[in-house]
Symmetry: C2
Subunit: 346 residues, 2 copies
């Protein structure tokens, strides 16, 4: 007889419109067999950490044909996202019992996955906290790395602006930019976060966008000579303000537009003529186009962590039952640093 | 005693808001000495052809600090733009009496210029109509060439959409794209222009945007598999519709946004999230960043003209006094093909 376990899951109750609410999610408990089907190449994993990421909002809405990147979550099914997991049993040649991996798993205690390159990554380095593979050493870290070095075309001495700068990606982009000798300013939505940017992450300057009646004026104050590089996490009014402050031949790496994800009708951006006037390059990107550089990224970033040169802040919610609250809070900026949900500490 | 001549000029009477009107311009007649000052390196030219270009609108408004590309015209002074001119007298070592050049001159019969690299170009090939140096062989031609080959990163078999496609730049982009083996669709604002696109310039398809109640639906009809490359001349609602129809890894070369130049408050563009979903690159560019490739461009395009492989349509207004009407007409789409003003035929 096969051993079984109960499997608590977070499911999507209803398609979300506007800001997601905790009541859009529900919990269910199923039973999972603690083995993989005979002859299958799938892997049974125990999920340890889950990652709360802004892009997940784009999967919560009613399916639309225009959103090529994001498939909608299925109603009544567990939502899914990046996580860190321990292999319980494996039919896959690359994974054996006890291995650790990070990648896409369900929001549940146990998942059965079919490991897929660029979707699942075996964890080889365990001298760092495992939760880091939901952030610094996982998708957000790789996003910051590819976005900054591959998309922004940065040069020493340039000015860099990062919005949502204390988040999982922003805090790293700012530090990468400082390493390169750029002048870096970040914005965030609370005094606590702004202080973090200036004191912990080494940003040259930072401001609380909620306390700025005129975002363009705030940018002009922080960048009297204009912005060479904008790392875009926000969209909408913020993008409009930045466009007015970009320098000639400026670059905007579009990583996310969290301000727009919860709007049924997206804000209009009015200052796009600056794209011509200032010959700006705006480049959207997705991390999964860059995962071939993941091992190069680890070689770069692991020594920096070891030497304490990279600072990293997590906001940890304890228990799967805290998952919906943590995820929903992301869209109100409640998290300070990378939002993680711990299902099980080992 | 120095010979003199009367010099009719087109001056800007008042800063333009909204669409330019003929009454925003005035004529004045001054006297010009038909020689260059002793010891100066300037050149006296007789202007033959003037070019009407959409970007000129961006110089007619009240000066604003945010428009880095375009300096405003001075009130009461002749406006200026690209033209083709004959050298009457020269203090410049590179130019002698009788030479032809194209580049920035005043809207007047005679101009005194200081030839400047990347602003003035000596005309070496005169077996083509000289007026072509206001278009096909001048700034718009170079714009189409650099914009398509350098900015769009085109590949054989890709789908290309060109707005304002019968204009000076658009008609060439479409033909360059066909040469590369792309599927090319253009839009324009009249049946006559649409016919021109399909019959003369060899576009695979074309539509009259004024007769399409739903631009996105029109694009979906013409591009059932989506748009890989958009050559942007229009902006506003057109850009919004295109964003909905772009393919993953699509590219948008932003050459101009003529629909926005006459608006005091620019239209909002709402579908920018597609930049992320589809990892789109939007790149503004200005021809003067590419003039180092001008001789390479001529080598490419002159044989094509000789062999009749490139079609080119001009709309010619006769006489400087027709200049304001021709220029103003551009913003109502009155021109069919490249709008030229002839001051003097030789």
């Amino acid at each position: 007889m096969t051993a079984t376990a109960t499997n608590k899951q977070v499911i999507l109750k209803d398609y979300v419109s506007g800001f997601p609410k905790e009541s859009d999610f529900d919990f269910t408990t199923t039973t999972v067999e603690l083995k993989v089907p005979e002859g299958s190449n799938s892997v049974l994993v125990k999920n340890l950490y889950l990652s709360c990421d802004p892009y997940m909002r784009t999967r919560m809405g009613k399916p639309k044909p225009s959103t090529a990147l994001a498939q909608a979550y299925a109603l009544g099914q567990p939502i899914y996202g990046y996580g860190v997991s321990r292999v319980i049993e494996s039919g896959h040649p690359d994974y054996k019992k006890g291995d650790l991996l990070w990648g896409i798993v369900g929001w549940e205690e146990y998942s059965v996955i079919t490991p897929t390159p660029d979707v699942h990554f075996k964890i080889q380095h365990t001298h760092v906290p495992l939760s880091y593979y939901t952030g610094l050493l996982g998708m957000p870290g790789m996003t910051a790395y590819a976005g900054f070095y591959e998309i922004c075309s940065p040069k020493e001495g340039e000015t860099v602006y990062v919005s949502a700068a204390s988040g999982a990606v922003g805090q790293l982009v700012g530090q990468f930019a400082k390493m390169m000798g750029c002048y870096v300013v970040g914005s965030a939505g609370s005094k606590e976060k702004v202080d973090l940017l200036k004191t912990k992450f080494g940003f040259d300057d930072a401001f609380n966008y909620k306390e700025e009646p005129d975002l363009s004026a705030a940018l002009k104050r922080c960048f009297p000579k204009g912005v060479d590089i904008y790392f875009e996490n926000v969209g909408g009014k913020m993008l409009d303000a930045v466009l007015l402050n970009m320098n000639v031949h400026g670059r905007i790496a579009v990583c996310g537009m969290i301000s727009q994800y919860n709007l049924e009708n997206q804000e209009g951006v009015h200052n796009l003529s600056n794209i011509i006037y200032k010959r700006i390059r705006i480049q959207g990107f997705a991390v999964f186009d860059f995962y071939d550089k993941y091992s190069k990224f680890l070689e770069f970033v692991l020594p920096q962590i070891k030497e304490g040169k990279i600072k990293y802040v997590e906001d940890v919610a304890d228990g799967l039952e805290k998952g919906p609250e943590a995820l929903v809070g992301l869209f109100h900026g409640k998290n300070v640093g990378k939002q993680v949900v711990v299902i099980a500490r080992e």
